[in-house]
Symmetry: C2
Subunit: 404 residues, 2 copies
């Protein structure tokens, strides 16, 4: 099952660089597929875009024009979630914080309602049926909505997960499946004879592997040693969020994910079983800027307050800033690159949590067979980083020559 | 000079309970007056209302109807500030963060301008001349003001201080003048034969003193052992603030304190030499609630953004919640109580920083002579806690009988 690496002494089959959701799901699924796996990350399961994310699994209410193919992948991943979570909870013994209450998307004013209406047509074309509701019907579902809310759409199939719980469950599951975690920084990728062989660590150690997966989010491009032309062109897209706390014993402010448009500005409230409500999020093209700003907080609070005024009463438990990894076409970069033995699993932009299950599945397939499954082929890393994409579903990698 | 306390072995002249601005200024001024002083506080110079406060010294732009007498005390304290700071910086060797740029008070809309106009008449009657400015004149002084700002008033004599720097300077000055600091909680006040004798500490130790000053802000009423009827009826008035950071090398967003009304809601921006800008503040009657709330942040950010939109770009360095100690008439409680040897210096509400110099002067006078100076007599603690106020300015305390 494992790719061969003639040069190293006791190599692992797969080395994953990155300790967020994408890195850990790749590790876990590869380990489940029978590969020996090591994960390297400075913060294994620690702070990252994964721990900042709200965890909406909402392709129906996320759909926007020009992203139809990506949305199909998102729908596949959303539909995979219940089975994925069942497997994960069995392997990890931990809850992934999955909630299946559906999502209510609401409009603040008539213009916002018109915008949501246009997207409703798109959703139908994608097979994502949603139910149009009047303002009164919205308030019947979520009584804390502002009286001014004009109407909305109910998406029964759009759910949520707690990314922090998901991350810890993935880490536990990967460990129980024999994955080795190494807390360290990658000093550089080792490429010999045109093939990825492993990494040298900051501590001086070296890990040799048959295949290497780079899954370090926005930090992926800065890993030293990636051959020119294969460095994934990812940009950070800043998001600022708040986490609010419901007072002990009080009912939750909203019972399902409530998202909406407020004069064209998107905002969401995602409730957790713990009473936490995540408010988000800004979307800012600012480079590697992780400053919490007055304007970011203000924008999120303003819009959340417009939809659900009661947020004002809640305690701010946490403010968060994360950097989403955006690729040139805002779609993920998956699977083999032009460098034999080197894979990417990065560039998930705003959809990293939602795409966790299909990414795990697709990467395990690529690592065991050498090629991405059909449904993921559009998202092959090679479309951006160059080189030939795998053409057959299921053909094993026998060496580097196939990709050079 | 010191009051006599027959029962204890090596008593100090004055024991101050409280490590905020009011406690430390009382200690320092008493020590300067030749008394031996000990200060007890859980957090000596640590987090308190003093470290949350923005530090506006702005009676002219603070003046409101019904508070004329308090405003006169505030003006006296403001005018005392330069000399006070000079003495403090000499005694402490540290900067108190005093800035004398004046304050610009602006109106967001015509209604706000009308409200400021009424207060302008009041200011004139208090001798607090301010200069009325058009919107354009305001923007000439502070170019980052929103184009919509309607006009305002310039108060050249309203300055600012950095309360955190002031607090550390007071602590250093008190220490250099021989004051002993004890980091502990007061278990209870000791009253024997109707006279305050000192305190028992949580650690079990005991401090005996000729006179005891309770200056623990909102915590003052909960000190055990205060005789019934003398417990000061203070309530906490919650304030939420933000501290923003100016990027290195960039000019400050405002060059002087800018405060204003936005649709009737007051807000201020206080700049520091470090580039920090303090935004504040809510005023909430919520009991002992120190939760940072979404609504509190939103209100301050909304109003600050309306006056100076550029705040949005700045990093949020800190969010703060403090509890102002409010007395029944919102005026401070100073000097001797009905219990011989027991003084109060509390209830400074929104004016603790501004009133620091006169409080220090007045308390030192009360501790050395037994009576408050004329200008502070209106604020005698006895007006609220009962008992006879000192009638003569300068008569020394010879025993408890005078107050029983």
């Amino acid at each position: 099952m494992s790719a061969t690496t003639p040069s190293s002494q006791s190599p692992v089959d797969v080395l994953v660089v990155g300790g967020g959701l994408i890195g850990l799901v790749t590790a876990w699924r590869a380990a489940r597929a029978g590969l020996s796996v090591t994960v390297v990350a400075e913060r294994l399961g620690g702070p990252s875009a994964s721990t900042v994310a709200a965890g909406m699994l909402t392709p129906a209410t996320e759909a926007s024009f020009g992203e139809e193919e990506l949305m199909r992948l998102c729908v596949r991943s959303r539909d995979r979630f219940p089975g994925f979570v069942a497997e994960l909870e069995q392997d990890s013994g931990a809850s992934a914080g999955y909630r299946a209450e559906g999502t209510l998307q609401v409009a603040f004013d008539a213009d916002d309602m018109a915008r949501l209406g246009h997207l409703g047509d798109l959703r139908e074309s994608l097979g994502l049926a949603t139910q149009r509701l009047t303002g009164r019907e919205c308030r019947r579902l979520e009584p804390m909505l502002a009286p001014s809310v004009r109407g909305g759409y109910l998406a029964d199939g759009d759910h949520s997960v707690d990314p922090r719980a998901l991350l810890q469950a993935l880490r536990a599951a990967a460990e129980r499946r024999g994955t080795v975690g190494v807390r360290d920084r990658v000093h550089r990728l080792v490429v010999e004879d045109g093939r990825a062989r492993g990494v040298v660590l900051d501590s001086g150690g070296e890990i040799t592997a048959g295949q290497v997966v780079l899954a370090a989010g926005v930090d992926t491009p800065s890993i030293a040693g990636i051959p020119e032309g294969v460095v994934p062109p990812l940009r950070p897209v800043k998001g600022q969020l708040l986490r609010l706390r419901t007072p002990e014993g009080e009912p939750p402010l909203v019972t399902r994910t409530v998202r909406g448009l407020v004069k064209g500005s998107p905002v969401y409230l995602v409730p957790r079983d713990s009473g936490e409500i995540v408010l988000g999020a800004t979307q800012e093209e600012q480079g590697f800027d992780t400053r919490l700003t007055a304007g970011g907080l203000w924008e999120v609070l303003r819009d959340a307050h417009a939809l659900v005024p009661g947020v004002s009463e809640l305690e701010v438990a946490e403010t968060c800033v994360g950097l989403r990894p955006g690729s040139p076409d805002n779609e993920p970069l998956l699977g083999p690159t032009a460098v034999p033995g080197l894979h990417l699993a990065a560039g998930h932009f705003r959809h990293g949590v939602l795409l966790t299950p299909v990414t795990g599945d697709a990467m395990a397939r690529a690592l065991t067979t050498g090629a991405l499954p059909d449904y993921a082929r559009r998202f092959a890393a090679t479309r951006v980083t160059g080189g030939r994409a795998a053409v057959a579903d299921g053909g094993p990698i026998e060496g580097g020559d196939q990709w050079t």
